[in-house]
């Protein structure tokens, strides 16, 4: 195992870096898309809420490989383009986080939002200045789930040309060696744990008030 890592150090690092980008860019893009959609679902007539949640749930139930390979037809790129993996994972993150944003915005409705409205906050200023900060714990819980899910999913991309650590899985399988596969699994899980911790620390930095109050 150690010899394997020592001999293939550069390849493993480049796979790891690719893995990280393929997992995190979609979370960021998905969050950017989920904010307006989630806002729409809650604030612009509750009639939109259930349809939006349902579409998200259907999208999220599609297996990753199938999703990756349906995208080329729609956007017209080759089926081995890394774009397919990026877009597929973005769709997953968006589906997951739209639900999170909608639930988060519902959870903060009450005295504080009414007070903000009474103080003269306009809708967008109220969203950015009052509601999103108050909803931070729920939003971060969603971000953590999306990040961990994406990191474990990226490796499927090895079947369609962009797999990060998944390349170690296919490589190991083809050569009949378990070392690369174990190294890939361990690194993928470590990466997920590290990103999870990073998000927890970021949340603590961004929401100092949650530490002073009563904590459940």
């Amino acid at each position: 195992m150690i010899t394997y890592v020592r001999n293939n150090y550069p390849d493993i690092v480049s796979d790891l870096v690719q893995h990280l980008w393929l997992a995190l860019i979609p979370v960021a893009l998905g969050a950017l898309l989920a904010l307006p959609i989630g806002y729409l679902a809650v604030r612009k007539g509750r009639r939109l809420y259930q349809p939006i949640i349902n579409v998200g749930a259907i999208l999220y139930s599609i297996p990753s490989l199938a999703l990756f390979l349906m995208i080329p037809v729609i956007i017209g790129v080759g089926y081995l383009s890394p774009l397919n993996v990026l877009i597929g994972l973005t769709l997953y993150s968006m589906a997951l986080l739209t639900r999170t944003v909608a639930d988060a915005l519902v959870s903060v409705e009450g005295e504080a939002t009414q007070a903000a409205a009474a103080m003269g906050y306009r809708p967008i200023a109220q969203l950015v200045g009052v509601e999103l900060p108050m909803a931070a714990p729920v939003l971060f819980a969603g971000l953590r789930v999306a990040t961990v899910a994406n990191i474990s999913l990226v490796s499927v991309g090895a079947l369609v040309g962009a797999g990060g650590l998944g390349n170690l899985f296919t490589g190991g399988f083809q050569l009949g060696f378990i070392e690369p596969i174990i190294v890939g699994i361990v690194l993928s899980m470590l990466l997920a744990a590290l990103c999870d911790v990073a998000l927890v620390l970021l949340q603590r930095q961004l929401t100092p008030w949650t530490r002073t109050g009563a904590r459940a």
Binding site: P63, Y79, D103, A158, I178, M189
Partner: protein, 253 residues
């Protein structure tokens, strides 16, 4: 030199050729869609059944006694970050290209969501209701199966549903390791550069997952008592300020 030579001929790609070819819809043969579909459903349900037979009793035990909670929570988190593709290829590389190492991987992947959600479901039951059941003279097993399980059912079923989707998805990528099922269409199509076959597989796999999820939602509506259903949704909205209830049910595809 005529202009026609400079413009590369655009090949007519018939994306849906494979899917709508009647020859692929007969039983028997390598390209048979119904065979692959039934194979996929059979393997998926078999793995889910075995996984549930292992995970449900353990989850019930941990939830009921409250002992070993860290196992349920830790396993749930571990299961979410475990790369499914890596686990399948690890077991196949270790034990050889047979069906059973893949089935073993699918069973292993079905366990964490079921166990974690069963535990969470039993723990979420109102202690006052459990006290009332004990006060009525129920024996421990009666308390578990007549009071705790019916009230925990929404969460238990959400664990089973998320395991079902995960196994369906992983059975698809397992085709890379010569596993049967609809994933064969995807992997064989990729190897032969036949995108219409790939697309047929992708559409069928997606539809299968959506239909299975819809059916399990229908089963959930049929078996969960209406009173429990209403209460649990109400509690879920209120509890969502801390952690969304969906968090535990989410697993990677």
């Amino acid at each position: 030199m005529s202009l026609a030579l400079l413009v590369p001929p655009t090949p007519m790609i018939n994306y849906f050729g494979y899917l709508f070819d009647g020859a692929n819809w007969t039983f028997g043969g390598d390209s048979s869609i119904p065979d692959r579909l039934l194979q996929h459903i059979f393997y998926t349900l078999a793995a889910l059944l075995i996984g549930a037979l292992i995970a449900l009793p353990i989850g019930l035990l941990i939830g009921h006694t409250g002992k070993g909670a860290f196992i349920a929570i830790g396993l749930g988190n571990l299961g979410r970050s475990l790369p499914t593709f890596g686990l399948v290829l690890l077991l196949v590389t270790m034990f050889g290209v047979y069906i059973w190492p893949v089935l073993l991987a699918l069973v292993v992947l079905a366990i964490p969501p079921v166990l974690a959600q069963t535990y969470a479901g039993i723990r979420s039951v109102d202690p006052a209701a459990v006290d009332a059941a004990v006060g009525m003279g129920m024996r421990p097993l009666q308390v578990l199966f007549q009071a705790e399980v019916p009230m925990a059912l929404p969460l238990i079923i959400s664990g089973l549903r998320s395991a079902l989707l995960q196994v369906t998805a992983t059975a698809t990528i397992a085709a890379y390791a010569s596993f049967g099922g609809l994933g064969r269409l995807l992997i064989d199509g990729l190897n032969r550069n036949q995108y219409d076959q790939v697309l047929a597989g992708a559409i069928l796999v997606a539809l299968l997952a959506i239909v299975l999820d819809y059916l399990s939602a229908a089963i959930e509506r049929a078996v969960v008592s209406p009173g429990v259903r209403q209460r649990s949704t109400r509690r879920r909205t209120r509890a969502s300020t801390q952690t969304p209830a969906q968090e535990g049910a989410v697993s990677s595809r």
